[in-house]
């Protein structure tokens, strides 16, 4: 069986790919990059704003606000550069930049399950939540929930909790009671 190598989205280090991709992909990617750069710019402005509320000291004795001002201004500048680049530069856009269809469903359900795992961990305890999480994710990735998946879930869920809580003495909530 021959397998295709993993699609490398990254350009060669230091290089830049200037090939012209199909128009719809360029547009999709460009609008995403613009949103990303704009969000970065907004956050950078907020960061600088807060930095100016911190004590600045003097030039011969900088205070805790000096460095955040320097880096914040640099962040604003780089965000503007990113925005300009995302509007001007045409980059190669892989057709599968973001998942679609079944793949998107998998990513969304997996992400939701992982968030739920983290939220429920201190409430229901590591042993129960880890096993339930394992069972759900194994079933999600295999597209079926059966006894085999349940056995794997209990073995790995309980095993990992046991190692961290009992062996490594990590102060995780073990059980809800």
């Amino acid at each position: 069986m021959t397998l295709e190598p993993r699609t490398e989205h990254e350009a060669e280090p230091g290089g830049e790919n200037l090939e012209t991709p199909p128009e719809e992909h360029v547009e999709g990617r460009r609008s995403g990059s613009v949103v990303f750069a704009t969000l970065s710019l907004v956050l950078a402005v907020g960061y600088v704003w807060m930095a100016f509320d911190m004590p600045n000291g003097t030039s011969g004795d900088p205070g805790p606000g000096t460095w955040p001002r320097v880096t914040g201004i640099a962040w604003v500048g780089i965000s503007v550069l990113a925005l300009i680049e995302s509007l001007k530069v045409v980059r190669t856009a892989p057709a599968d930049l973001f998942p679609t269809g079944k793949s998107l469903k998998l990513v969304a359900f997996f992400s939701a399950a992982t968030v739920a795992y983290v939220i429920l961990l201190p409430i229901l305890g590591a042993y129960i939540v880890s096993s339930v999480y394992m069972f759900y994710v194994i079933g999600l990735l295999r597209s079926k929930w059966d006894i085999r998946g349940g056995i794997y879930a209990v073995v790995f869920g309980v095993g990992a909790s046991l190692i961290f809580i009992e062996l490594l003495q990590v102060r995780l909530v073990a059980f809800p009671w």
């Binding site: 397998l3 190598p5 993993r6 490398e8 989205h9 990254e10 350009a11 280090p13 230091g14 290089g15 830049e16 200037l18 995403g32 990303f36 750069a37 970065s40 004590p55 011969g60 004795d61 900088p62 205070g63 805790p64 000096t66 460095w67 955040p68 320097v70 880096t71 914040g72 962040w75 780089i78 550069l81 990113a82 680049e85 995302s86 530069v89 930049l97 973001f98 793949s103 998998l106 990513v107 997996f110 992400s111 992982t114 968030v115 795992y117 983290v118 201190p122 880890s130 999480y133 994710v137 194994i138 990735l141 295999r142 790995f156 869920g157 990992a160 909790s161 490594l168 990590v170 995780l172």
Partner: protein
């Protein structure tokens, strides 16, 4: 203590049951991480990082370093057998390694990479042993100006080289630097960007950032990966023996790759990956049988594999001797040192020689263990390539989450890990360099410290930062690389547009 005495002393120190076991575990885990497709050395080391805080400093450091070197070893197994690189450093191994496997020479290809990696790492270690003292004695004269130039300039160079466009390298770098400003400022204890949350006053831990941006985003990529389970042919030990001709063709590339890799490893760049491409081009350039490249040329596999492993060893020099990491895994190593109260830098060899030399000694032992693990256990590694993702993915999440929680027994770490995971996922999707973010996070406080010291010494005169020859040289290189490359890209783009216009007409 001379370098040879120091190394022998380090070997002696490393020959304790505890360190031998650590080196073995690190070599095993590192190879495992390298072999598993998708899970790279950084994500693996990030997930293992919180666990290292539970042990002695030297054990923690050997674990991280062993995982790093082991991952370089293991990465090429998937490249050769399945045409699936375990990591970016193993991409070049697919060029000639996979064609060799298709010709029925998979065993020798694996043996050539394992032996080459051993030779390269050994040569790299010899260079470290004999160059560290010289570099340390030079670095001991550095002041705030030199350190500021080295850290800030090095970070800028790394960001420029790692990313595609200028912004793709610089934006994650500055994000790393600003995330590092969260928490109490070291000299005045003023809380910065904590929003009144007590849990944030200690700042964001590197394990949280590393597991978030690398670990979580890597898992999401694994889920998206639509490839089916790979099939493989059984490989027996006797199948591993290369022919005389294959060995003869490998010696030169092994040697050249080792020297090239070590030199590139000491520079601020993603050297392990870059060294493989440079070595491949070099081998192809000097080869008589150029037409064989891409069709299973032994030199095309042996050279880059040696370069990759030697670069991994070489990049440990700036970490141990200067306290400066220029790759994501080494940023994790530095943070492990700082958590253990070790101040890496030129004085480390003098003030903590036992620690310095035992790390070198343990690396040498881990290197031998890697050879022992890689050749006889090849059948097991091949089987590991087949671990179903439905088990691998949730197990990684459990280990990563519990590990991140254990850093300070705090749920905030887990919430931050998820948030940073989402950031890392989108950064990767838009081609932003995650390595410069992690290195920026580690170097940020060092840059700030040297900036403040410099301003105090000079009474606020910014020209002071150009008062040493070393600093002027570094900043000139930065200008050349950062601005020069941007100008070159602009000219290239203009030329391309002209070409497109003329074609349209």
């Amino acid at each position: 203590m001379s370098a040879t005495e120091g190394f022998l002393h380090g070997l002696q120190l490393a020959f304790t049951p505890e360190l031998l076991l650590t080196a073995l575990i690190a070599a095993f885990v590192g190879t495992l991480i390298g072999v598993l497709p998708g899970l790279g050395a950084v994500a693996g080391a990030a997930i293992a990082l919180p666990l290292t805080f539970m042990f002695d400093p030297v054990v923690g450091l050997v674990l991280i370093a062993g995982i790093y070197v082991g991952a370089q070893y293991g990465g090429s197994t998937g490249s050769i057998l399945l045409n699936i690189p375990g990591d970016s450093t193993a991409v070049v191994a697919t060029f000639d390694g996979y064609p060799m496997a298709q010709k029925g020479r998979a065993g020798p290809a694996l043996a050539i990479t394992a032996i080459g990696a051993f030779i390269a790492s050994t040569i790299g270690l010899v260079f470290i042993v004999y160059s560290s003292g010289f570099v340390a004695s030079f670095a001991i004269t550095f002041n705030a100006v030199d350190y500021f130039a080295l850290t800030a300039g090095g970070l800028l160079i790394l960001a420029r080289i790692s990313g595609g466009t200028l912004a793709q390298g610089l934006l994650p770098m500055i994000l790393g630097v600003v995330i590092a400003t969260v928490g109490m400022e070291s000299t005045s204890s003023y809380p910065r960007y904590t929003f009144g949350n007590l849990d944030l006053t200690l700042g964001i831990h590197i394990a949280v950032l590393a597991v978030g941006i690398y670990g979580v985003s890597e898992i999401l990529y694994l889920i998206e990966d639509k490839r089916q389970r790979a099939s493989y042919k059984k490989i027996r030990i006797k199948d591993l023996v290369p022919s005389r001709s294959e060995i003869r063709q490998s010696w030169g590339p092994w040697g050249r790759g080792s020297i090239l890799g070590f030199i590139l490893g000491t520079l601020p760049m993603p050297s392990a990956t870059i060294s493989t491409f440079v070595s491949y081009r070099m081998e192809k350039g000097i080869a008589r049988n150029k037409s064989q490249f891409g069709k299973g040329a032994v030199q095309g596999l042996a050279g880059p594999e040696a370069a990759n492993n030697s670069a991994a060893i070489g990049s440990i020099v700036p970490v141990l001797v200067l306290g400066l990491p220029f790759s994501a895994v080494l940023a994790l190593m530095i943070s492990a040192m700082i958590v253990h109260g070790i101040q890496p830098g030129p004085l480390m060899m003098e003030q903590q020689p036992d620690l310095f030399w035992s790390v070198i000694g343990a690396l040498a032992i881990a290197n031998v263990m890697l050879l022992v693990l890689n050749i006889p256990m090849i059948g097991i590694w091949v089987r590991i390539l087949q671990i179903p993702r439905y088990i691998l993915i949730p197990v990684i999440v459990l280990v990563a989450s519990m590990g991140v929680f254990s850093v300070s027994n705090n749920m905030v770490n887990l919430y931050l890990m998820l948030a940073l995971g989402a950031v890392g996922y989108f950064l990767r999707k838009y081609n932003y360099s995650l390595a410069s973010m992690l290195v920026g996070f580690v170097l940020g406080p060092l840059i700030e410290d040297n900036f403040v010291r410099g301003m105090r010494v000079s009474q606020g005169d910014p020209a002071y930062f150009l008062s040493s020859t070393f600093a002027v040289v570094i900043w000139s290189v930065v200008v050349l690389i950062v601005i020069g490359a941007a100008v070159r890209t602009l000219l290239k783009r203009r030329a391309q547009r002209r070409l497109l216009d003329s074609t349209a007409k």
